[in-house]
Amino acid sequence: MDKEFITRGVKRCSGGKFLLWLTPWVLLLAFGLFSAALVLIKGLNQTNMDNRFAFGLWIFLDLTVIALGAGAFFTGFLLYILKIDDLKAVINSAVVIGLVCYSGAVCVLAVDVGQPLRAWFTFWYPNVHSMLTEVTFCISCYLTVLAIEYLPIVLKNRRLREVPSMLVFEHELHKLIYVLAGVGTFLSFFHQGSLGGLYGVLRGRPFAFREGLALWPSTFFLFIISAAAVGPSFILLTTWLVEKISRKKLVKPEVPGLLARISGLMLAVYVLAKTVDTLVWLNRTSPERGFQGWQYYSWRPFGTWILFAEIVVFGLVPALILLSPKLRANAGWRLSAAAMACCGVALNRFVMTVQTLALPTLSFDPFMSYYPSWQEVGTFLAVVAYGVLVYSFSFRYFQLFPQERDLRVQTPPQREERELITAGRY
């Protein structure tokens, strides 16, 4: 039925089977859209957020998803700017993931604000001192860039290529992809940072407040590093997942190793920086503002265990695993380490958003707890479903993994030697 849309020479399941796979996600998406509509029409009273818990599940989701989506910019950066050509094998997939994550996050943000119709005020009356302004500007720009980067992948579709203009445009656009990669790197570098700054600048919330380096609080840089660290890990996971689900080899065996190495390296840097930052904050920043560091961790359930989990269990451990060539080579270790790294960053975002708001600031404040309402969860699920759907379609009809075709058969070694003269189109 849709055969002529599928790349020649790659195997895809039958249309019926594909529909079967889509059904649950479509249903989930429908439910999510319903709850989102409820929020948009009836207002944010549909959520369990309140004046004290001004942010909830959604902001946590946005921060996490955007961190995971960082693979797109970081891989692009390594491939196009640092010319690590092996990453060509996953760049398309990375771009799709990035697009999904960012567009999802932006949609949720639109639901999260009280007056979505005024979202553009930020562009109109920007307060350049606000981290949120930086975030808004960078994310919207970067989303555009991602969309443009996604275009060639779409236009490469077997049927669309036959339309001359599309073929030509794809060809030309791809020649200029560096520029976009560069701009994308610049943008995501900034908004990943400003997302961290978002909480680091809250001088009223000593739990989140960090001292600044240059213009930005330390969280600015921590977020960048952690995003760069977890991006490749997430690509690693998704690629593996897709390979398992589609029962195919999609990338050459050395690619996951490379991703793991990069991820491990960044993660190690992150853990180091985070440790230093935490020590400075606990012993200087916070006490100077009248808040003893220890008291943050005496509000159940957020004991010191959360700090330990964040830095050691989900930080140091995966970093070491990914850095050791022997463990890295083993798929089991590699993947579990990658998963841990992702959890670590998610936990970090959770601490920054939820724990910050849960902790009391005034001496007569109670400790606050919050559970998302089903509308919030529904909207969250919508993003997940949306992501799966977009990725599934992209995987079926576009070439997310260029090596897939060559990997259909075990190829004799001499074919893999690098030629002296490469006719690289990139």
């Binding site: 007056q115 119709l117 005024r118 553009w120 005020f121 109109w124």
Partner: protein, 567 residues
């Protein structure tokens, strides 16, 4: 010849060109302005801002009020600075009083004709008719008394008089010993109490750390129901440090007046005549002298009343229904004149809707903490709602007497007495009564003024009488929602914060085993009411704090051993 391509080129060029002019950006800004004026949000009415003066009738204090009006519509109320009685203070109830006419639960319709017919029938059958007046001493009260006098077997009933009709002179007190009296939480005239507060030490004997206890100089926590025992201990000099405190006179002892201990303490520490004084009430026309006598409801014969007319338009002391009921005959007709469904309307066959503050024109007698008699009007700032009737007029018509000009007549009588001074709110000046003409007096009364009597030099020594005392209940009631209506904005104090208990909310000690927000029942011999639990460690175990409200008063008034049970 132009092709479609040219057309595109032109449009595109025009668009790009336009972007370079301020026009599109201006349009966006205007779009913003539009989105800033959301549809569906009420627009406040505009108009000339002017000030009007009146007095609050929401409680017997009758604080002076300055109303900020747009045209004739009051939009906010404030105290009148420098007022000799209320000293410019208003309680939250008063501050939001101007919302009452628009209260969603206000009673606005009733079978007036049927009520009149039923009353006539009752009288025709030769039964006793009685008026129960929750705030005696008003001119309306005099109208009732006159009406009852002209009706065969007519009775005028009133709640028990505080301090046996005597007044408190707080300014004279140096030490105040209070047994659970909410002295700093709406007792007497709040402004007057706060004014005097600096001059006396307050010793509060109370089981719960109420607002008054929290602010008292000394709080003596007792177990619930043991206040009276504490009183007798103090009376017998059982507690030296208290005794020593009480050496610092003049002393005032406040508490449930039916306790002999209170009377004794006041006598022992020489309060009578110094901090508790007898008050001369505002004069009335001589023609009213033949009015029916005031009778405390308790003194009426059991089962004697065939027709009971209850006027609760001016909230005062609420007598629990189960007590009042005993005075009714079997086939009694009960008519409640009220603006709320929560009061006696729950028990009456007929509820007649009346005007509420600030609709009604009424006068306010002196509060318990005013040694001098006073006369002031609560003028109607907004016209009474359609379908409401004036109970005084209704009852006067019933008895065939003319009371249309009662207020004015009384003002005349006061003017003739040539006693005291008139305090004008607009310029906070006061002029001696003797220098004023009746018309001028009446005019200034309506524009916001207060007549304050001279202190009677040869006033008789005040007498306090103890009655058969009821035991103290373990439910401490706090004025929260008022007996009658309360502004919808009080949600700020209940739902949107926990400053005050909401109606049907009780505060318990966490040790009680109940959890926050749990639905329970407050139960006494008189029945049970569903309540919501609010945990508060400052409530001692065994004690219950509940908000006043007619139904709660019916349940707990004068009974003991209330308990909280799970539903």
């Amino acid at each position: 010849m132009t092709t479609r391509r040219d057309l595109f080129k032109i449009t595109g060029g025009a668009a790009v060109g336009a972007l370079l002019t301020p026009a599109p950006w201006r349009m966006i800004t205007d779009g913003a302005l539009w989105s800033e004026n959301w549809p569906g949000i009420p627009r406040p009415a505009r108009g000339e801002i002017r000030a009007k003066f009146t007095n609050c009738t929401l409680c017997p204090a009758g604080c002076a009020m300055k109303a900020r009006c747009v045209g004739d519509q009051p939009i906010s109320l404030a105290g009148v600075a420098g007022h000799p009685l209320s000293h410019g203070a208003l309680c939250p109830f008063g501050i939001a009083g101007h919302h009452l006419p628009y209260h969603p639960e206000r009673l606005l319709s009733g079978a007036v004709e049927d009520a009149a017919a039923a009353i006539k029938k009752g009288i025709g059958e030769g039964g006793r008719i009685a008026v129960f007046d929750t705030r005696p001493g008003r001119t309306a009260s005099w109208t009732y008394r006159r009406a009852m006098a002209s009706l065969p077997g007519g009775l005028y009933l009133r709640p028990q008089a505080a301090l046996n009709g005597n007044a408190v002179d707080l300014s004279a007190a140096r030490t105040v010993l209070s047994f659970g009296v909410p002295l700093l939480d709406g007792w007497g005239t709040p402004g007057n109490v706060i004014q005097a507060r600096g001059n006396f030490r307050l010793i509060q004997v109370e089981a719960i750390e109420s607002r008054t206890a929290a602010m008292a100089d000394l709080w003596l926590p007792t177990n619930a129901g043991e206040e009276r025992a504490m009183a007798s201990i103090i009376l017998n000099g059982g507690m030296d440090h208290i005794a020593r405190e009480l050496e610092n006179g003049p002393v005032l002892v406040l508490g449930p007046e039916d306790w002999p201990e209170i009377v004794e303490l006041n006598r022992k520490y020489g309060a009578l005549g110094r901090t508790i004084v007898s008050r001369r009430d505002a004069p009335v026309p001589d023609t009213w002298k033949d009015a029916a006598p005031e009778m405390e409801w308790a003194d009426a014969a059991e089962g004697s009343i065939r027709v009971l007319l209850i006027d609760e338009t001016a909230p005062g002391a609420y007598v629990p229904w189960h007590s009042l009921e005993t005075k009714l005959s079997r086939d009694a007709v009960v008519v409640a004149f009220t603006a709320t469904r929560d009061g006696y309307a729950r028990h009456a066959q007929f509820s007649i809707p009346t005007a509420v503050f600030p609709e009604a024109l009424d006068d306010i007698p002196a509060a318990v903490d005013s040694p001098a008699g006073v006369f002031r009007l609560s003028t109607s700032l907004v016209p009474p709602a359609a379908g409401t009737i004036d109970p005084a007029m209704f009852i006067a018509r019933l008895a065939g007497i003319d009371a249309a000009s009662a207020l004015r007549d009384r003002a005349g009588a006061i003017c003739r007495s040539a006693r005291g001074n008139v305090f004008h709110y607009a310029d906070s000046k006061s002029t001696p009564m003797k220098e004023m003409k009746a018309d001028a007096f009446w005019k200034s009364l309506n524009e916001g003024a207060c007549w304050i009597d001279d202190l009677d030099p040869k006033a008789p020594a005040p007498k306090l009488v103890a009655r058969a005392a009821t035991r103290a209940s373990n439910v401490s009631l706090v004025e929260t929602c008022g007996a009658g209506l309360v502004s919808p904005l009080f949600s700020k104090l209940h739902e949107e914060s926990h400053v005050r208990l909401a109606r049907h909310e009780i505060a318990l000690n966490p040790a009680g085993g109940f959890h926050d927000g749990e639905r329970v029942a407050l139960q006494t011999d008189c029945g049970r009411i569903a309540m919501t639990v609010l945990l508060d460690p400052s409530i001692p175990p065994g004690s219950i704090q509940a908000a006043t409200g007619a139904d709660v008063l019916d349940l707990c008034g004068g009974v003991t051993g209330a308990k909280v049970v799970r539903i």
